[in-house]
Symmetry: D2
Amino acid sequence: MNPIDRLSEIFSHFPGIGPRQARRFVYYLLSRDQTTLDTLVRSVEDLKRETSQCNECMRFFNGTGSLCSICADTSRDRSLLMIVPRDADLDQMEKSGSFKGRYFVLGGSLPILEKEPERRIRIRELLTKLAREQSTLREIILAMNANAEGENTEDYLRQALRKGDTFAESGDNSPASSLTITALGRGLSTGSELEYADPETLKNALLHRTK
Amino acid sequence: MNPIDRLSEIFSHFPGIGPRQARRFVYYLLSRDQTTLDTLVRSVEDLKRETSQCNECMRFFNGTGSLCSICADTSRDRSLLMIVPRDADLDQMEKSGSFKGRYFVLGGSLPILEKEPERRIRIRELLTKLAREQSTLREIILAMNANAEGENTEDYLRQALRKGDTFAESGDNSPASSLTITALGRGLSTGSELEYADPETLKNALLHRTK
Amino acid sequence: MNPIDRLSEIFSHFPGIGPRQARRFVYYLLSRDQTTLDTLVRSVEDLKRETSQCNECMRFFNGTGSLCSICADTSRDRSLLMIVPRDADLDQMEKSGSFKGRYFVLGGSLPILEKEPERRIRIRELLTKLAREQSTLREIILAMNANAEGENTEDYLRQALRKGDTFAESGDNSPASSLTITALGRGLSTGSELEYADPETLKNALLHRTK
Amino acid sequence: MNPIDRLSEIFSHFPGIGPRQARRFVYYLLSRDQTTLDTLVRSVEDLKRETSQCNECMRFFNGTGSLCSICADTSRDRSLLMIVPRDADLDQMEKSGSFKGRYFVLGGSLPILEKEPERRIRIRELLTKLAREQSTLREIILAMNANAEGENTEDYLRQALRKGDTFAESGDNSPASSLTITALGRGLSTGSELEYADPETLKNALLHRTK
């Protein structure tokens, strides 16, 4: 395959990009000067070298070392662990400034009827981490998207945490027995109108009413 | 004005309808047989005659009498009053089956900088009702839309309830002094994705997390 | 059925309106004063009485008489007949000020596989009219929407005009034999971008290029 | 800047991509294995080396040499030149299979009030090419997008071709004097509905009606 087609193919796997926009990316690159292309090449080459994956939360971060700045921060509450689908979700939650515990990045979410969950999400890494932190952890917050895929992932996680099957070998009890498992609250998100809200959302909005 | 233009004009004031769709409505009516038009005419004529406005919650209901079925239902919790912008919001909340108190339909909401709030919403009727029910009421739930207009209306209502100015004449205390005022809870509404959620929504989703 | 439900039902058959918006229309009417409702009732009552359907083009027009202002206008070119799906299409074409012939309003268009075309569109009335105007008519312009339903209707009309079956009884020839049948030109409509244009549109845009 | 931010910055300049999606691209790359990243790097490195820009039409093409396959194809009509904004437009027109002449890729289009047109589009290269091909060329087709920017670019090109100022020095006549300049035809593009068509589109659809 020639580089135009090869690059189009690569770009068409980028999240949210179809074949047509992928090709526009290639034409865009062709119309740039060599310096821009060199910067792109160098940045991609540097990307993995200068970026590390945190051993604890599995997020990618700039720099070297085994721990990201959040996991290394001793002032964060070690008793709270929020499980998010992706790095971008963690970024958004951090930007809100409202969470002071630590995170675990699942690496994705599970479509309904997914046959090989353990290849889609970091469930093994999660269970291992939970076994390791049994003594300090008091609450796991399942922060999934409020859609079918998110709910499916939440169901899967609750089951996996209850069974805690990977712990059998080590003789440990299921982590769930000593932990509270919670999920992000549902209610009216910004922009919602009552008339178009679903019963579940209204029920939760009523349940969680605030002074 | 001829009836085509007159009807187009009337339809163009229907909620969400522009002049072009209004005219399509007229052409649609012209293409119907006389029976359909007669039914429309008769239904509009009957509308106000066979529909009443509830003296308590101000909603419109089918039938005669001064009380709607909800306000007449003695099994509903008289200590809880939910204030909703419109009849359709009340319908939607009832469909969710999650609220067992009573309602008050405000009749609209307040745009930012609205100069004559009392002409837009039933604030006088509300304050009168609250004064009347001081002894039984324990909580008022402000169930506004989660948008700028809804928040503006909520601010206005909180202020009006605090001042309770209309009660001065009757020598009553402000209703707010003896009441808890709450608002519907914010959080992830169905369909929300973490990555696109605003900080306020995330903060509330975290605050209201559920087991 | 009570008038609220009856009116909701009627409005839900208006073009483009679902049950939820239909109910909002009813609540809107309930919140209007009696004068507005009376005006609506009177306008609907007047509608058919003060509106006529043109014997020639089948459009609805304000006033009495058997001919609309366009068909009565002797300065319009009687050799050109444009067939449009609906009254609103005729309005839009007149607004463009670019057509000086006369019209025929078909009353709709034909979905693919429609089993009873003669109940959906005024094909009989059209063929009768064409037979009557054989001597003056030189061109029929099929002005259908540029979508599947429009193309299907165009195919049906071409076939019907070619057969001209209804003319058999009167011993006339098919109208198509003495007429040119044309269709509106395809090309780039305002707002089109080349990159997203379909092959058919590009082919026609090239074919009809202008100086 | 670290490679995550640097890459986000680069991707955010890709056509149609904002900062948020740019960052998702980076996270996507981080989650791929090293082989995928190596392929991306190699493809970008190869891109300019294995891709050439055609000396005649200015499009980018896979391979080496000074002429692209279309410009080198002696069976294409040398008397017809279609001027398109971008490579992707040329691709789309070729896919339609309806044009047998040659192309010139302008490299963009001109926003209203653009102060330096010659930096946005290849107007100098175009005028030079036209001077060179004066003897064979009979028609220039301005194939611009049917929007404000496209119309502005068409106006600019017509003026530039009329003045043909760069030819003054060489003593040549303006190319426009010996050439027909046309533009793609306007009409109903696929999917258009009469009721929503603008007057210009209707006028052209009528003008270009087909048998």
